[in-house]
């Protein structure tokens, strides 16, 4: 997923003002995946949401000292979101691979039987591969449930409006935040 272009960036302008625009754009991209990503079958949306979370996390890691305190506090939950979506994606990647490999063995064994083999050459591998498939399916379900819970928790705690407010603040030299822009 390509990041959306952020308009109005000025290399000679203050870091805080430029970073604010970028954070707001990345936050909007992240939140834009809901409610689509509430559907566990939306694997592409879940994958893209993970990338959006990663982009938001990285810009916050770099620029949070410019903003109000919640900009730093938001990094942890965004990282958690990225990680849990990463685990969902790992399962989505591995499941078809394991199933395709099992199919390959079954096809090869059927061909061997048809050619007169006395036993299935890969029979021993079947159990392990089926167990691995079940494990991946279970892990995927659990991690997806964690993702939903995490997102709902973020919503309950006002993640988006709090981060929007925080990036409108500017951290002063004394470490206290002030509202920098109207």
């Amino acid at each position: 997923m390509k990041a959306g272009k952020v308009r109005g960036l000025d290399p000679t302008g203050p870091l805080g003002d430029n970073a604010e625009r970028i954070v707001l754009a990345r936050l909007d991209e992240l939140c834009g995946f809901m409610p689509r990503a509430e559907d566990p079958a939306e694997t592409a949306a879940l994958h893209d949401m993970r990338i959006a979370a990663k982009r938001l996390r990285y810009i916050l890691e770099i620029t949070h000292p410019c903003f109000g305190p919640y900009a730093e506090a938001a990094i942890g939950p965004v990282k958690q979101l990225q990680e849990v979506l990463g685990d969902v994606h790992d399962c989505d990647e591995q499941l078809p691979e394991v199933r395709a490999f099992l199919d390959e063995l079954v096809t090869a064994d059927a061909a061997a039987l048809a050619c007169g083999a006395a036993a299935l050459p890969h029979r021993e591998a079947y159990e392990g591969l089926v167990a691995l498939t079940a494990d991946l399916l279970a892990r995927r379900e659990l991690r997806f449930a964690e993702f939903l819970e995490l997102w709902r928790d973020l919503e309950r705690k006002g993640f988006r409006p709090r981060l929007e407010y925080a990036v409108a603040e500017r951290s002063g030299a004394n470490g206290r935040a002030t509202i920098g822009r109207p």
Partner: protein, 152 residues
Amino acid sequence: MAKAAEIAVAAEEPFAVAGARIVRARTQELFEHDDGVLDTVDIERVHDMRVATRRLRAVLEVFAPCFPKQAYKPALRDVKALADALGERRDPDVHLEAMRAFGGVEPLVERLRERQAAGNVALAAALEAAEASDLRGRLLALADAAEERVGA
């Protein structure tokens, strides 16, 4: 996992000046991780270097307007190529790790080991290409150009 260094920034400093400093730091971090990255026993090295490429790529994209386009585009492309090669190596590493607990999946493990070995060959080529094209020097030159742009 290797933690990225905290880099001091100030809200009022010019965007390009901050970008130059951060790109220099992330470039240094990336090339600090290339030692032993082809070792398939210690898979964390590939992971750390991959994370370093992601961080570098992220800052390049964030500060893109600060860099001369002609130099920026090929540098970003080469960082992505390195990240892709690290990903090709890392993916089988992750899958192999996940399969450790399972008996009876040796044929799949064997297949993944072949992919891991192929990923290592591709990664070795990508590292050589980065060195031959002086990727590090080009990234540092981008940082210099960003500073020059604001007369810093």
